[in-house]
């Protein structure tokens, strides 16, 4: 009882300064989200799901200030790619910096203007996947995002998008506290690549709901920005239909605290979902990947590939679950989480889980942490490769399986290059 009170008091304090936009259909969805949130309260360290990550800086009423960051001469990721840019500054959409939201086969709406319009497809999606994702584990910060998002983008894809939609998040104020909520609906056979990049704010709370209908294909690639002091809790909820594809990859370099949750439900036969991440941290860095994949149909495939490189006391967390529901026969589930610890001060905490209620499935999971392979390092050096380059080659090799989840070769190469740059900045 005492803990429930703590959670509900924390919630009251957290939302005291926030306003719930009551307008239209969106207002109803927000009120329902608030009702869910009120029944849960905010997470505390004593919750099993937050055992390895302290949620307090994500739940306190005012964010801990975070200095903005100058990336120097490193161009922002995806810069060379032709795309429809939608820019947010400290969590507020900036039309002046954005491209016109026009792309054949794609409808783009701003969340703040959507409440007044009857977008039936968005009405059936906003807060809906988030609500489904509250079982069996509650995710209060996702409900907070549905209830109090101050901005966001609603995207409906009816054809094959000729270029990606790119959400770019600038962080300008040291005390910004951004709450965003996006929805993406891919109709049957539609295709879209969604890019996300940038730190967004001192504290970033974000929810993305993605509904991938039968035969549709969704690619998601994101980079979370190099700010050292930023904090973020992000959720991506996905429902993947028959024969559809969902692929999500996240690159995280730096950040004081990041918790990325992915909640994916394979609801149609032969659906495919891959979720992957490469995270590198040096020093005051805490990165948590929490993933929950549900197989609810036959012959579906899921892959979770999470790799972390940690040094100087950096902390990595992985909580990943594959749930195979009764009847989800011929499931092919794979999960790997690995950390490369570059010194003895860093740590990796992993909780891989399988829960299977069907008898004809193939599921595997593995979790390891280890140091650089000294034998391989010597082998490379003995061929004349200097230790620094050899180390960098081995670290990139360690991350390769995660980066391989990025299908676009140019983007994958760009990501490799950035990781190489990061390694050369964090040598020794």
């Amino acid at each position: 009882m005492a803990q429930a009170q703590v959670k509900s008091d924390a919630l009251a304090a957290r939302i005291a300064g926030l306003t719930l936009d009551e307008k239209g259909w969106l207002g109803r969805a927000r009120r329902e989200a608030l009702a869910r949130l009120t029944s849960m309260g905010l997470p505390v360290r004593r919750d099993e799901y937050w055992r390895y990550t302290d949620p307090s800086s994500l739940t306190v009423p005012a964010p801990i200030p975070a200095a903005t960051f100058d990336a120097g001469d490193e161009a922002p990721l995806f810069d060379g790619i032709e795309r429809v840019k939608l820019v947010f500054v400290d969590g507020v959409f900036d039309a002046a910096q954005s491209d016109a939201p026009e792309l054949a086969g794609v409808e783009i709406h701003r969340l703040t203007e959507a409440g007044a319009t009857d977008l039936h497809w968005a009405r059936d999606l906003y807060g809906v996947l988030e609500a489904r994702g509250q079982v069996p584990v509650v995710r209060p910060l996702a409900a907070l995002g549905s209830a109090f998002a101050t901005d966001g983008i609603l995207i409906r894809v009816t054809g094959k998008a000729a270029k990606p939609v790119a959400l770019i998040y600038h962080h300008q104020s040291e005390t910004s506290d951004a709450i965003l909520h996006h929805c993406v609906k891919l109709e049957e056979g539609a295709e879209l690549t969604l890019l996300e990049s940038g730190p967004a704010a001192a504290r970033f709370t974000k929810v993305v709901e993605v509904d991938v209908a039968e035969g549709a294909r969704f690619h998601h690639i994101r980079a979370q920005g190099r700010d050292h002091e930023r904090r973020a809790n992000t959720h991506i909820f996905a429902r993947v239909g028959a024969g559809a594809l969902f692929k999500s990859f996240t690159l995280t370099a730096n950040g004081r605290l990041t918790r990325n949750e992915a909640v994916i439900e394979l609801v149609g036969d032969e659906a495919v979902a891959h979720v992957a991440g490469a995270a590198v941290g040096d020093g005051d860095f805490h990165h948590d990947d929490t993933v929950f994949v549900t197989h609810a149909a036959e012959r579906c495939e899921s892959r979770q590939v999470f790799k972390k490189v940690l040094k100087n006391g950096a902390v990595g967390v992985f909580q990943g679950k594959i749930l195979v529901k009764p009847g989800a026969q011929k499931t092919d589930g794979y999960q790997i989480s690995q950390s490369l610890l570059l010194d003895e001060d860093s740590q990796f905490l992993a909780k891989p889980e399988l829960e299977i209620y069907a008898d004809d499935v193939k599921c595997s999971h593995g979790s390891t942490s280890g140091a650089i392979d000294e034998t391989a390092l010597f082998y490379l050096q003995s061929r004349g490769v200097p230790k620094k380059i050899a180390t960098s080659l081995l670290v990139l090799a360690f991350l390769a399986e995660a980066i391989a989840e990025v299908e676009d070769e140019a983007i994958a190469e760009d990501i490799r290059q950035r990781l190489e740059n990061w390694l050369s900045r964090h040598e020794g």
């Binding site: 082998y379 050096q381 003995s382 200097p386 399986e401």
Partner: protein, 251 residues
């Protein structure tokens, strides 16, 4: 070319002495073989020369063309012209064989102040040399040694040697795990590299490799020392009578 004087080596972690005063001189153009029973220190000698960690040199020196090897990093030794073909070539998942070769070749060229090979030139050379060793393009594309058979790994070592064109080549039990055909292929690869400016130190248990790679000098190593040196006939003697006679004679 290679001159080892009174080399004493112990394991860093424990107080175990492995080499107890090795003396050896290999001239340019020569092929020397080292034979010896298990545990005599043959592989340790090769690792110490290549610069592997975990060993402590307590006395002595090893020079390559007059330069002290033991003070160099492993990559500096490689750039100076030393090459060790590993008894157990290391698998490196995630690093493509081709990337590995090009990185190595260009790192050495850079260290020597030479211009790096262009991607096109590199490809041409590597294809030609791989063909001679019957290494197909699939093996070049795969991660270094991952999923290679024993014979493929050894051929891959010789390919690296051919690409890096070292002056002093040490072959550590390159014949282990090879069938007759693979041994011929590997030996042909080695023999193709023999020339007046290059020397070889071939470490082996068996005389049969020396039928293919004909040595000028054969050394017998036991208990951390070279105990006997002779011509190719010494290897035949070992093959027929084992080490017991020689060791007894030395004692």
């Amino acid at each position: 070319m290679l001159e080892i004087k009174n080399l004493h080596v112990k394991l860093e972690e424990e107080d175990k002495v492995i080499l107890r005063g090795v003396d050896l001189a290999v001239k340019a153009g020569e092929v020397h073989a080292i034979m010896g029973p298990n545990g005599s220190g043959k592989s340790t000698l090769s690792y110490v020369l290549a610069g592997r960690e975990g060993y402590e040199v307590t006395e002595g020196s090893a020079t390559l063309e007059g330069a002290e090897l033991l003070e160099m990093e492993p990559e500096e030794r490689a750039a100076a012209g030393l090459f060790l073909a590993f008894q157990y070539p290391v698998e490196i998942p995630g690093v493509g064989n081709m990337t590995f070769l090009r990185t190595a070749v260009n790192a050495q060229r850079k260290a020597r102040g030479e211009e790096e090979l262009s991607a096109g030139d590199f490809l041409k050379v590597v294809r030609e040399k791989a063909k001679a060793l019957k290494i197909d393009s699939d093996m070049l594309k795969r991660p270094v040694n991952v999923g290679f058979s024993g014979g493929e790994k050894k051929r891959n070592e010789i390919l690296q040697m051919a690409m890096l064109e070292p002056k002093m080549c040490i072959l550590d039990e390159t014949d282990s795990g090879l069938d007759v055909d693979a041994m011929k292929l590997v030996s042909d690869g080695v023999n193709a590299l023999r020339d007046a400016g290059r020397a070889f130190l071939v470490i082996t248990h068996y005389q049969r490799l020396l039928d293919h790679i004909k040595p000028d000098v054969v050394h017998i190593m036991a208990a951390g020392r070279i105990v006997k040196t002779g011509g190719p006939e010494l290897a035949l003697e070992v093959e027929h009578n084992g080490y017991a006679d020689i060791l007894a004679e030395v004692k």
